[in-house]
Symmetry: C2
Subunit: 344 residues, 2 copies
Amino acid sequence: MVADEGEEISKRPTIYDIAVLAGTSPSAVSSVLNGTWKKRRISVKLAERVSRVAEEQGYTTNIQASVLRRARSKIIGMIIPKYDNRYFGAIAEHFEARARDQGLFPVVTCTQRDPALEVEAAKELISYQVETLIATGATDPERITQICQAARVRSINLDLPGSGAPSVISDNYTGAMDLTDVLLDRCKEDLGWQGPLTFVGGRLSDHNTAERLRGFLDAQKRRGIDPQQAKVLALGYSADNSENALMSCETTGPTGLFINSTISLEGAMRWYRKQSAKQSNMIRFGCFDWDPFGEFLPGNVGMVQQDVETMLDRTFELIGSDAKPDNPVLVPCIFRPVRTEKRG
Amino acid sequence: MVADEGEEISKRPTIYDIAVLAGTSPSAVSSVLNGTWKKRRISVKLAERVSRVAEEQGYTTNIQASVLRRARSKIIGMIIPKYDNRYFGAIAEHFEARARDQGLFPVVTCTQRDPALEVEAAKELISYQVETLIATGATDPERITQICQAARVRSINLDLPGSGAPSVISDNYTGAMDLTDVLLDRCKEDLGWQGPLTFVGGRLSDHNTAERLRGFLDAQKRRGIDPQQAKVLALGYSADNSENALMSCETTGPTGLFINSTISLEGAMRWYRKQSAKQSNMIRFGCFDWDPFGEFLPGNVGMVQQDVETMLDRTFELIGSDAKPDNPVLVPCIFRPVRTEKRG
DNA sequence: CTCATTTGCGCAATCGATATTGCAGGTGAA
DNA sequence: TTCACCTGCAATATCGATTGCGCAAATGAG
């Protein structure tokens, strides 16, 4: 007998299935399950019956159908380069939490710092009908903005600014100045040495690196220190680059390093470990980025932690008040001093 | 004049808009834009015209509508507790990459180790019509499995096993044995001391912790060492818990710590730093988890890195071959020895 | 008992894309 | 010239949920 019993190959139940089982209409089921039933004057009795049947059948709304019909999707997207450091990890986590708080559905996707993937992911999110797209640390924010504009989707830049859309970024300049000041103080205090310091990691074409370098230079100039061009080792973000740059750089005697990110810090630590005991005692560094293990690393005088929560507060404020692309919103950083215990 | 010019308030163009502009039908536009046009015998000329118009108008397909109509959604979901450590970060990143390789659309969401959020997120992903849901490190895998089954969605457990769905996990027992062996070797070699070791972090009700503890105990027993009950400090995963547990534990003289995760390692390091120089020189530890900064921490003899790539290979194999809930697939871990340089 | 409201709910159109079917017009063989 | 067949495209039903509209029954006022 060829299955003719009207017996479906068990699929997901829809409002039509529930309607039949509850002896009512699909529209009643819909309004009960999406909470608009009071407005539609459905009786409590029917509402309860429908809810019970839906529960029994393991009903879940088909968001695709729902979003297709509704005016708003309530979906908010984010592209982010990586999940592999505390900064981006925290951004993704807080973004999701914040979005849920606002009754929005977050969708995050990471793009591996790959410009092509960035574009692909942005288009994908737009296909999902996101109402807003947050472009975090995009390699090419303008391109993302352009894609969003073509699709009439609001976009916001986070971490790296762009001119086409509102941006929220850290106050890199001030943070870098603070870090440089502490580093200089500690070099003087611990080593009796006054600079100039060495800048390690990042890319000068990158807005954040440029601003941090500016703060780094200004803080030294303000003290009458002449920062040397050769001491700026911004050859990229990878650990290897930083390690190699330091290796090929003459550093004997007291040394102070301004490390541009935790990834650069890995390279710096590899280099550090190769120094003689005597030399490594004469090294101090600060890092413009935070990692929980940073405070256990020898020579660390402090870390600049970007204030992710506030950055996301500002970002969601922008979403609420459709702002125009303006000057980037600058969020102050949090300085985390490190006082390494004196060791025997 | 009340806008009567048929002039829409600029919205996203649909295939209907493109069809009008290209002087053809919506169905032709659809097939051109989704690549089935050759099969549908659309002429190259028309295909090119449609593509050009679509490009000009910044058209992107509405996935909601597309998925609604199609048989398969090609969406694959993952829930994951956190993004804030290398392990979960790597899982999320590789999952996304793998999914894209297979032509699937990944959607990842983090659940903050909150059972309620876990359930909510799972239901949300099911609403998105995911074809498969990967539950990573779920606090209650069985509950997730149950929800997925009710919705006729395939599910797979990753990192922590469950009985209702296929599971892929690390070979915690063997990894723990290896780590314990190395730790014992190094304690003997460096300190002339033979244990017993201390186990720090995790929860005994947690499958992974239980397995690691078993390996930890067996490795010691095999050497004729009697592991003491009081040396098992598995009071939770937080850094504070581990720090406090160690503080309240009498540890003077040679000490060997088996640290159950990087989060516990943070606590252990805070404790470590409070020890006298003399005492801290008599501490060795190994960590069942990997972090790039681990190798720079004093006393570290090695880290067990879970083989995320292979775990995801196995996971996607399971997706391909709709396997039954069986014994968990065990993936061997990678041992990363640490040779700290002798310091002055 | 009549008429106006209110209550409770169903009908049917709709969102945008897909896939089956159908239907002209053209081509080639007999 | 006739007819089978192919080419190129359009019409149309459909996926599941939402929502404006309308209508019958219940209720209340007079």
